[in-house]
């Protein structure tokens, strides 16, 4: 079945006042959630994140204001119908303990009146999608699953009818750090395929920075202090409150946020094993380097050769030089790369992209330069925005 992408959601002047409560839980909130993006609602406990999210699928009714889903006012849609087209994932998954995994996942398609063959096929497809073997898990009850597995099933259930919108309220909040990381990675992988509009509630800064295309930093009453991409929030916090909430270490957080493949890597001369020694030596010296990388036909890094290795020799390079030890993957974060660099035998380590093809080299100073570049770029963007035409 072709999966469908997301639709935009717009909140216009939305207020929620609970009976008996003094201040409104959500106070005149305006928020535009673009189609196909993950928007994280981030803020301290009780600031109104959950309430904001629950108004989107009308589990709470706004006291005033409008919510437009793909341009349609949610008030005009029957709440049950609306919810069948909005995936809903909560902490601890909320699986029905008296139903098997398959029946849990099948609930929304059943509500939509699909026939049982189509439902059975869809259930298996979804379990595959969230990385669970249908043959093994289909007929299990939730209590026979680990917390992480339950949460996967929770995601599968939410995706069952291929809804354009997914609401996730601290979905990984109750999991251990390792499982949480893994499920976050898988959500991002899924999202690459599905491109749903996802509203993701958390109070974990690191989770927000990792998951979000944009982050809405909230204060009491769901007042938005800053609404921006993670890198911008890190490099340009709107005020002291945001800065404090982020908890410092913004450079460390940028390391975690940035992929090796996305920064400017260093270059060294590289050549195949059949390259001529004298030519390679000339090339190295012309570039002012001390060494070169030897790669095979598929451009996988093989060996380092230094100027000394090559000096005075003729003919093809052959197996001169020392094998490269570690390589760093382009999809690693800078933080992981840093870890590898600190443990590497050489100062410079080759980076490989897809299919382990050589794509450049990285050293500690490359990482340092990259972080400084990101900060400079954000500063520049900010300056241009502030100086730009107003009104």
């Amino acid at each position: 079945m072709p999966e469908h992408g997301g639709v935009p959601i717009e909140l216009r002047g939305v207020t929620k006042r609970f009976p008996g409560a003094g201040a409104p839980a959500v106070d005149r909130l305006d928020l535009l959630i673009p189609a196909g993006e993950i928007v994280v609602l981030l803020g301290p406990s009780g600031c109104g994140k959950t309430t904001t999210m629950r108004m989107v699928n009308r589990l709470e009714e706004p006291t005033s204001g409008d919510i437009l889903i793909d341009g349609q006012n949610s008030r005009d849609i029957n709440p049950n119908q609306l919810r069948r087209h909005i995936g809903y994932v909560i902490q601890q998954a909320g699986l029905f303990p008296h139903m098997t995994v398959a029946r849990n996942v099948a609930q929304v398609p059943k509500l939509l009146g699909w026939d049982s063959r189509r439902i059975a096929g869809r259930v298996d497809e979804l379990l595959d999608l969230v990385g669970m073997d249908p043959g093994l898990f289909r007929d299990r009850y939730p209590r026979a699953l680990s917390g992480g597995q339950q949460q996967r099933v929770g995601v599968a259930r939410a995706l069952a009818a291929d809804p354009p919108v997914l609401l996730m309220d601290e979905p990984f909040g109750a999991l251990d750090p390792i499982t949480r990381e893994r499920l976050q990675d898988e959500l991002l992988r899924l999202q690459e395929e599905l491109a749903k509009t996802i509203v993701f509630v958390t109070h974990d800064v690191d989770e927000a920075l990792k998951i979000g295309d944009r982050i809405a930093m909230m204060q009491r009453g769901s007042r938005i202090v800053q609404y921006a991409a993670p890198a911008e929030i890190l490099t340009d916090p709107a005020d002291d409150y945001v800065e404090q909430y982020l908890g410092g270490e913004s450079s460390m957080k940028l390391l975690r946020l940035t992929k090796v493949g996305d920064i400017r890597l260093d270059r060294v001369p590289h050549a195949a094993e059949d390259a001529d020694t004298e030519r390679l030596l000339a090339e190295i010296e012309a570039g002012g380097d001390q060494y070169a990388l030897i790669v095979d036909e598929a451009r996988h890094p093989l060996r380092w050769v230094t100027v000394d290795d090559l000096a005075g020799r003729t003919g093809p390079v052959g197996d001169l030089g020392d094998p490269v030890g570690d390589t760093i993957l382009g999809r690693m974060t800078l933080q992981d790369a840093l870890e590898s660099l600190l443990n590497a035998d050489t100062d410079v380590v080759p980076v490989v992209g897809r299919r382990r093809v050589y794509s450049g080299v990285i050293s500690l100073s490359t990482v340092q330069q990259a972080i400084q570049d990101i900060k400079a770029r954000e500063r520049e963007r900010r300056r241009r925005r502030h100086d730009g035409p107003r009104g």
């Binding site: 699928n57 589990l59 049950n80 119908q81 609306l82 919810r83 069948r84 087209h85 809903y88 909560i90 902490q91 601890q92 909320g94 699986l95 029905f96 303990p97 008296h98 139903m99 098997t100 609930q107 929304v108 509500l111 009850y141 939730p142 209590r143 259930r157 939410a158 609401l167």
Partner: protein
């Protein structure tokens, strides 16, 4: 005459009375279960209403069964009618109470999840809340059944059907021939019936409590 001789000489009568007793209890509990679950379902979300329902059933419960049966004679006369009414009324309390407790005990997150994926209130009740509350409700019905067994015996006081007749006629002739045998037969018969019904509930639990929440 030994107890055994007494029983074998009146085998047909005793079996008939036991069957009557069982059938009366089963039918009363069935009616009480339907009514009780209905009252529980209608009231569990509203604290005042369920307090009222439970209060009323509780007051009924404190009336001694003999007095209740006596009170029912003027409107209903003797025989089956007052017996069945009294048994059903007593059976209501544990069923209403367990239905309310069971439904209120369902994890609020699960009800939220049910509504959140688009189940109507009624569907959430039928597909999520009642199945999850069912073990507690079933326990209520089981307690009600045991209660009904005992009250069924007292029903003989208003000439109701069942094994109570053996007990009362024995007690009335205490010291006389076979008085003790008669009382013992009624008592043991009711105990055996109660055990039999209880076994049925164990089986019913196996058959009706979903695997995922069975203890």
């Amino acid at each position: 005459m030994s107890l055994w001789e007494y029983v074998s000489s009146r085998k047909d009568l005793i079996l008939f009375e036991a069957a009557q007793h069982a059938s009366m209890v089963a039918q009363c509990v069935l009616v009480a279960a339907v009514l009780g679950v209905l009252v529980g379902v209608l009231s569990y979300r509203r604290a005042h209403v369920s307090a009222l329902a439970l209060g009323m059933a509780g007051v009924l419960f404190t009336i001694p069964s003999l007095a209740m049966l006596g009170l029912l004679i003027p409107p209903l006369g003797l025989g089956v009618a007052p017996s069945v009414t009294a048994i059903t009324l007593y059976a209501l309390l544990p069923i209403i109470r367990n239905t309310v407790v069971g439904l209120r005990g369902v994890d609020a997150q699960l009800v939220d999840a049910a509504r959140g994926i688009g189940m109507s209130g009624r569907r959430s009740l039928l597909r999520v809340e009642l199945p999850l509350a069912w073990p507690v409700i079933l326990t209520g019905i089981r307690v009600a059944t045991q209660l009904a067994m005992g009250i069924g015996a007292v029903a003989a006081y208003v000439s109701g059907p069942g094994l109570g007749e053996q007990i009362f006629s024995g007690l009335a002739r205490l010291g006389g021939a076979n008085a003790l045998n008669s009382t013992l037969t009624g008592t043991i018969g009711i105990i055996l019936l109660a055990l039999l019904f209880d076994a049925c509930f164990v089986l019913l639990g196996r058959l009706t409590i979903p695997g995922g929440i069975r203890a």
